[in-house]
């Protein structure tokens, strides 16, 4: 577990907005090939934390290191070029383009010309099982298709690590199972994952390590089983009144908002 092997290392990162400390002294390591999940109640600062990692926001303190170099000064597109792919909590398909073109946008980072980008994008679509949707306008996709398109576009970058922000939000049970299958396949192919998730079933099925954020602070870290039965975590989710019941968090603490 030596930190030299960490692909992504976050050192005491914090973000202040005026009087609000959205992220406070969070440190985290993700090793190559790991799946790390970030959970926590609403407003815990999870997406803010992601934005600090991808460069959308600059940290007030602390350092983000990727492949053992500091990337604090790098803007988002430079971090994407280094190998950090990400999806957004609200899917952002490029609606005027079709599915293939959406993925090509990502593929162009590696391929310079249209035909190469098109072929690479097609390969990615096959990998995620969306090849038949290639000509469909991105604006006409269902929610689960949009989510998958986000993932495809990130994959087209040939990233080393993929950051997924609540990629399961709003999906029904069979769609969720479908997505987990895809993610597991991708993981088996060697991809590293850092995901924000509310759906604890997903967390249980698809995590090596779980990290809990509450009010901007990292309050617990461990395996899925450890975390999901930890009193500290239960308290954070449900409030002090429910302490000590010894029960686990209900498996479907899904967030609709």
């Amino acid at each position: 577990m030596s930190s030299d092997q960490a692909m992504l290392r976050v050192d005491k990162v914090g973000k202040q907005f005026g009087g609000l400390r959205a992220v406070d002294d969070v440190s985290l390591s993700v090793r190559k090939g790991e799946i790390v999940s970030i959970i926590g109640p609403n407003g815990a600062g999870k997406t803010t934390f992601f934005n600090l990692l991808t460069g959308q926001l600059a940290p007030s303190e602390g350092e983000v290191r990727f492949d053992d170099r500091s990337i604090n000064a790098l803007p988002p597109h430079a971090r994407a070029r280094l190998g950090m792919g990400r999806t957004f909590q609200i899917a952002k398909p490029l609606i005027a383009l079709n599915v293939l073109e959406n993925v090509m946008i990502g593929a162009f980072m590696q391929a310079g010309a249209l035909s190469a980008a098109r072929d690479q994008a097609m390969a990615v679509l096959e990998r995620v099982g969306m090849a038949h949707l290639a000509p469909r306008r991105a604006g006409e996709l269902t929610l689960s298709e949009r989510r998958r398109l986000e993932v495809a576009r990130a994959l087209a970058l040939q990233p080393q690590i993929v950051l997924l922000d609540e990629v399961m939000a709003g999906l029904n049970q069979s769609e969720v199972a479908h997505e987990i299958e895809l993610l597991q396949e991708l993981h088996a192919q060697g991809l590293t994952f850092l995901i924000i998730e509310h759906n604890l079933k997903v967390v249980r099925a698809f995590s090596d390590r779980v990290v809990v954020l509450d009010r901007g602070r990292l309050i617990a870290e461990g395996t899925a089983d450890e975390i999901l039965s930890s009193p500290v975590v239960i308290e954070a989710y449900l409030g002090a009144g429910h302490m000590g019941s010894g029960r686990e968090l209900p498996a479907s603490v899904t967030n609709e908002g």
Binding site: G55, Q56, A58, P75, P76
Partner: protein, 296 residues
């Protein structure tokens, strides 16, 4: 020294005019969050309205305000309801739409008036007040006073009345205001109406000073942009103070640098403010919300 004071006073009075013209734009800008390119034409309609009131109803410009302002206000509400509201969250199309209105209104008046310039003579047009060695045009003094009064009036309206408070709530956070039960569309409608009425009012008050041509709106809109951006969106006093600053800077630039470069002053101010401090001097509205992206 005397020159300096004269230029300063000229600038201040000019600033009063700019503040008057900008106050409506500022309100619309700050609340509805759209750039109303046609605002200058609303001022122009105010001027023409005052002219027709003077010619056919023999009303003095200052009295015609009571007739003209509500009419232009209604026009404003129509614009908001028919043109702006359908284009909510389509910023680029809003640009086309309001610029199209600018072209339409301006050239409509050109066709109607056959290109003739009008002017309205009023007792104050030629009058001047002498203070020491300075001769101050009465009309401009009246305008300055009106600008100040209107700003004060608007300030009280926004802080004391229920409608005013709704407007301020919507300015700060549209979603929260909606959640509190405020009818945001109706607030936009009323705000646009008030903003347009203020423009019409400004037009009527300015007829003793400027000659009335279809293109006159163009003069004001450009300066008004500079004023609004400098003063800061959503701030009533920002428009007033911004107007004074723009007026004074323009007067000094015109006197000491070159009269023909006066209009360039507006843009330089506008560009400098947007790049250096987009929230303006007293801006209520957050910079990113309105015009500026966080840069990396």
């Amino acid at each position: 020294m005397e020159q300096l004071v004269t230029v300063l006073v000229v600038g201040i009075l000019l600033g009063g005019i700019y503040g008057l013209v900008s106050i409506g734009l500022n309100l619309i800008f700050g609340v509805v969050r759209i750039v109303n390119f046609a605002q200058g034409e609303l001022v122009m309609f105010g001027m023409y309205g005052s002219y027709y009131a003077s010619t056919y109803l023999h009303l003095s410009p200052y009295l015609s305000v009571f007739l003209v302002a509500p009419l232009v206000g209604v026009l404003g509400m129509l614009i908001q309801r028919l043109v702006i509201q359908p284009l909510t969250s389509e910023a680029n199309m809003q640009i086309f739409a309001t610029f199209g209105l600018l072209m339409f209104f301006q050239n409509l008046m050109l066709a109607v008036s056959r290109g003739e310039a009008y002017s309205v003579a009023s007792t104050s047009s030629d009058g001047a007040l002498a203070i020491g060695d300075l001769k101050l045009s009465t009309a401009r003094l009246v305008t300055f006073a009106a600008s100040t009064l209107i700003t004060v009036g608007l300030h009280f309206f926004l802080s004391r009345t229920l409608m005013g408070k709704s407007i301020r709530a919507v300015t700060q956070d549209k979603r929260a205001a909606r959640a509190m039960g405020i009818n945001v569309e109706r607030t936009f409608l009323i705000t646009f109406g008030i903003g347009a009425a203020l423009a019409g009012m400004a037009g009527a008050l300015l007829t003793p000073i400027y000659s009335i041509t279809p293109a006159v709106g163009g003069n004001f809109i450009l300066a008004a942009f500079a004023v609004v951006v400098l003063g800061g969106l959503g701030s009533v006093w920002g428009a007033y103070i911004g107007g004074l600053i723009v007026g004074v800077v323009e007067a000094f630039a015109g006197y000491y640098i070159d009269p023909s470069l006066r209009s360039a002053v507006w843009f330089v101010i506008f560009l400098v403010v947007l790049i250096v401090r987009p929230a303006g001097l007293l801006g209520q509205v957050g910079a990113e919300e309105v015009g500026f992206r966080e840069q990396h």
